[in-house]
Amino acid sequence: MKVKAKEKDGIVKVKVLAKHQNIGPEEAEKKKKEANFITSVVAKVGTAVVFELNGSGFMSANPLYKFKFKGKKGDELDVTWTDFKGETENKKVKIK
């Protein structure tokens, strides 16, 4: 997962590029693959949640998520995605 976080005028802009097949059950059946997709993406600064998304198999493969929140340079952004199978991936970056 690639995460970029940049602050300007108190607003942090974030780009998250996850590596995931994101295939829902219908598509999986057609492609004869196992269904698996990112079900949630949560981003935090400290204990505060700043982004929370529940996804589906209708997000693209290797999805790109963008969001904004009020924050400041130097803080650490902690991003985790969880998929249908229960696997997770985490990335921490410093807000630039």
Binding site: I11, G24, E26, E27, K30, K31, T39, S40, V42, A48, V49, V50, F51, E52, L53, N54, G55, S56, F58, M59, S60, A61, P63, L64, Y65, K66, F67, K68, F69, K70, T80
Partner: protein, 151 residues
């Protein structure tokens, strides 16, 4: 007509969940509203997620290509200045309607982008759940030249 008592009860329930100490979601939409993810049509998905709502068509912007070259990766942005609790996006081109649901934090900014799939041309519907208890929506048609989603 919204049943006021039922609606207020729902609001209190959500507030209680929000106050509970959390490591991740206060409200995990995939767990709490599983029917919304099963629904085939946007109207049914919206009802499963939010109940019998009558959203006002204002205050919500959807940015997406009018013609998507690749149905497998359509960039879509949703923006709103409304103080929101949640935002949801649906479409009517895939086997099921619900694409994603965001929980909006206290003081959060509704300016989200995702990349999604559509099997063919259709309409995207975005719903913003306001803190004021009202709902706001926007519908945008998208033409897809090459269907994504294995279609």
């Amino acid at each position: 007509m919204i049943n006021r008592r039922k609606f207020l009860g729902l609001g209190l329930g959500l507030a209680t969940l929000a106050l509970a100490p959390v490591t991740a979601s206060a409200l995990d939409f995939r767990k709490e509203k599983i029917d919304a993810w099963k629904a085939e049509k946007p109207a049914d998905a919206i009802k499963a997620l939010y109940g019998d709502i009558k959203p006002e068509e204002k205050g919500v912007k959807i940015k997406a290509p009018k013609l998507a070259e690749n149905g497998g990766k359509i960039p879509v942005s949703i923006k709103s200045d409304i103080e929101a609790k949640s935002v949801a996006i649906f479409q009517d081109a895939n086997p099921r309607a619900t694409v994603a649901v965001w929980t909006v934090q206290e003081g959060g900014i509704v300016d989200y982008s995702i990349t999604m799939k559509m099997k063919g041309s259709g309409k995207i519907t975005a719903i913003v759940e306001g803190k004021d208890g009202k709902f706001y929506s926007k519908v945008l048609p998208i033409e897809v030249s090459k269907g994504g989603c294995g279609g």
